[in-house]
């Protein structure tokens, strides 16, 4: 009887864990984009502690969000402290546009990031840009979440 109860409790615990995790994945998919811009952290890497390497964009847009500007200010602060570092800003688009337009869009996104870094005191000479259009998805799935993670510009160390 006691044993049975233990098993029962275990089941309850297991079941509720499953429920919670199911909720959290479901939640994630909806909460991770705000106004079509990815706000999660799944694909994000770091240039240094507390300095995320990438920002995200809305479909067909290259406007910087409040969160993107915050990230870029952290990058600028880090670059001002590490004066010998040069970077390449890689601009990307999702797979839902024509190839040539996406190349232009990636370039526009990378330059939006570059311009903001320059506004915060980083010399343009330390920043090169390259567009990969839709050629280098970070998430290869064909889903709204993957597309939002792929609409990005990534600052990478060039030296």
């Amino acid at each position: 009887m006691k044993f049975n109860k233990a098993i029962k409790n275990l089941f309850i615990v297991l079941f509720s864990t499953l429920l919670i995790s199911a909720c959290s994945t479901a939640k994630k998919a909806t909460v991770d984009t705000v106004d079509d811009v990815y706000t999660g952290t799944d694909t994000v890497e770091f240039l240094a502690k507390g300095v995320p390497d990438r920002i995200f964009f809305a479909t067909n847009k290259s406007k910087l969000t409040t969160a993107s500007r915050d990230t870029l200010r952290k990058q600028a602060t880090w670059m001002r402290k590490n004066k010998d570092v040069t970077v390449t800003v890689e601009g990307h688009a999702d797979e839902r546009g024509t190839r040539e337009y996406n190349l232009a869009l990636g370039e526009r996104r990378a330059n939006a990031a570059k311009d903001y870094l320059m506004t915060y005191g980083v010399s343009g000479k330390r920043i090169s840009v390259i567009s990969y259009g839709k050629e280098r998805p970070v998430n290869p799935a064909s889903s709204p979440l993957a597309w939002s993670q792929n609409r990005r510009s990534v600052t990478v160390k060039a030296n």
Binding site: S62, T98, L103, A104, N111, P137
Partner: protein, 445 residues
């Protein structure tokens, strides 16, 4: 690649008057394909043996290629050979029309070939079985290695005689070959005959390459290469393999195309977040800026007379198609429908512009008149884009990508074609996955 020597000696030894003869209406789609019998070409017993070359079945092989070409148009119905009633050599001399009519054929192709002095001599005839008349008789001489092209040229001549339009079989497709996982694709420039044979790879796959396009004489290809991680427009000589960067631009150049006279390359140049359209004269190397607008201007394509350029811009806020004079003046937006429009390409006949349309998450290939009226959407799918015209302006080739799952599996990229009637959609076989097709002009003219 070796320069292809093709001495095409066309001698028309009879030319029939055209009244009362069969014609194929290519404007209505494949509702009633013409039954046609393609007799194997008779191989002359005096033919020389050539090492590593099977002469005895050559006539059969050529007729198979002709049949396959005809079938691919959707306009012809090649009849099964087991019902054929006459031997190839006798049929070629003088068909018994009533016998061929019995198997419901309306047209008959006959021919013979001879290999002598290391040359392949071919002659063929097209017969109207209803009128009991010869419609065309041609002969030509070439090197035996060109035998597939012989079949394509025969196909073109017959297509031309029956439809009144030039053919598109003796042509090639340049495209991007794709292998590997979706997030680490290896891309190479590739070239194949229109029917998928004779595939050749022009780059090794060490750097990303995109959007190859033929020049008007099919000897050069312009394309985008990420060589040394600097995306720039390049020029490749197909025969010599020599590659060179086009112009010394301080930033990405992309979306290249030749002018109709082959003297210029028109392309986009991206600088400081803004893409404008430029042209470069290949001889003088003079660069001209054609659009100057703080929005994305890309995918330019000349009209066949070179007087106009159609392109793609988001100056209205969303991607739309525009037409301007080739000096950049008189810019006019021509698409106003709902959705986004991209990749405009002017038809070689000048009457239509093909495009990609994106609406409610679906991708369409369509055509419209060059003033934007008469839009017709030909095919809808999850993702497809980048149409390229057959040289006679009747068929479009484009690429289509499939949806992938959460691990990127299920993804594929394939070449497809469709008639501008909206009929006859079919997949082109390629050795690997493929994208960014460019259709050459006719190789023999």
């Amino acid at each position: 690649m070796k320069k292809i020597f093709f001495a095409l000696v066309l001698s028309i030894f009879t030319l029939q008057n055209a009244y009362g003869l069969i014609t194929v209406d290519i404007t209505r789609g494949n509702l009633d394909p013409l039954p046609i019998a393609v007799s194997p070409l008779h191989v002359d017993s005096k033919s020389e043996k050539i090492p590593s070359f099977e002469t005895s079945t050559l006539g059969e092989e050529i007729s198979k290629i002709v049949e396959k070409n005809f079938k691919s148009t959707g306009l012809f119905n090649p009849l099964k050979k087991d019902s054929f009633v006459q031997k190839p050599d006798i049929a070629h001399l003088k068909p018994r029309f009533e016998d061929w009519r019995l198997i419901k054929a309306q047209a008959l192709v006959t021919g013979k070939l001879l290999i002598i002095d290391k040359k392949l001599k071919v002659e063929f005839r097209l017969w109207d079985l209803t009128a009991a008349k010869e419609m065309i008789a041609l002969s030509f001489t070439t090197t035996p290695n060109n035998w597939r092209r012989v079949a394509h040229i025969i196909s073109d001549k017959i297509y031309e005689r029956l439809t009144g339009e030039t053919g598109y079989f003796d042509t090639r497709i340049a495209y991007v070959s794709e292998t590997g996982p979706k997030n680490r694709r290896v891309k190479k420039l590739a070239l194949m005959d229109q029917d998928g044979f004779n595939t050749k790879y022009l780059t090794l796959g060490n750097e990303l390459v995109l959007t190859p396009r033929f020049n008007p004489t099919n000897q050069l290809v312009t394309y985008l290469s990420y060589f040394k991680n600097m995306p720039r427009v390049y020029l490749l000589d197909i025969e010599t393999g020599v590659q060179e960067v086009v112009g010394n631009f301080p930033g990405m150049t992309f979306a290249p195309r030749f002018s109709p006279d082959g003297k210029k390359i028109i392309m986009s140049f991206a600088k400081d977040g803004n893409s404008d359209i430029y042209s470069m004269d290949l001889e003088t190397r003079v660069v001209e800026q054609i659009t100057k607008h703080p929005s994305i201007d890309t995918s330019p394509s000349y009209s066949p007379d070179g007087k106009y350029i159609t392109f793609n811009s988001d100056r209205s806020g969303l991607q739309q198609i525009y037409v301007m004079r080739s000096d950049g003046t008189q810019v006019k937006r021509i698409t106003h429908g709902s959705g986004l429009y991209g990749t405009p390409v002017w038809s070689p006949r000048g009457d239509l512009i093909a495009f990609t349309k994106v609406r409610k998450g679906r991708f369409y290939i369509g055509v419209m008149r060059s003033d934007g009226t008469g839009e017709r959407l030909l095919t809808e799918n999850f993702y497809q884009e980048a149409p390229s015209w057959s040289p006679n302006g009747r068929v479009l080739i484009f690429y289509r990508e499939t949806k992938s799952d959460s691990k990127g599996k299920g993804f594929s990229a394939k070449l497809w074609s469709i008639d501008i009637t909206g009929y006859n959609e079919r997949r082109l076989k390629t050795e690997t996955d493929a994208s960014d097709p460019s259709w050459s002009s006719l190789l023999s003219n």
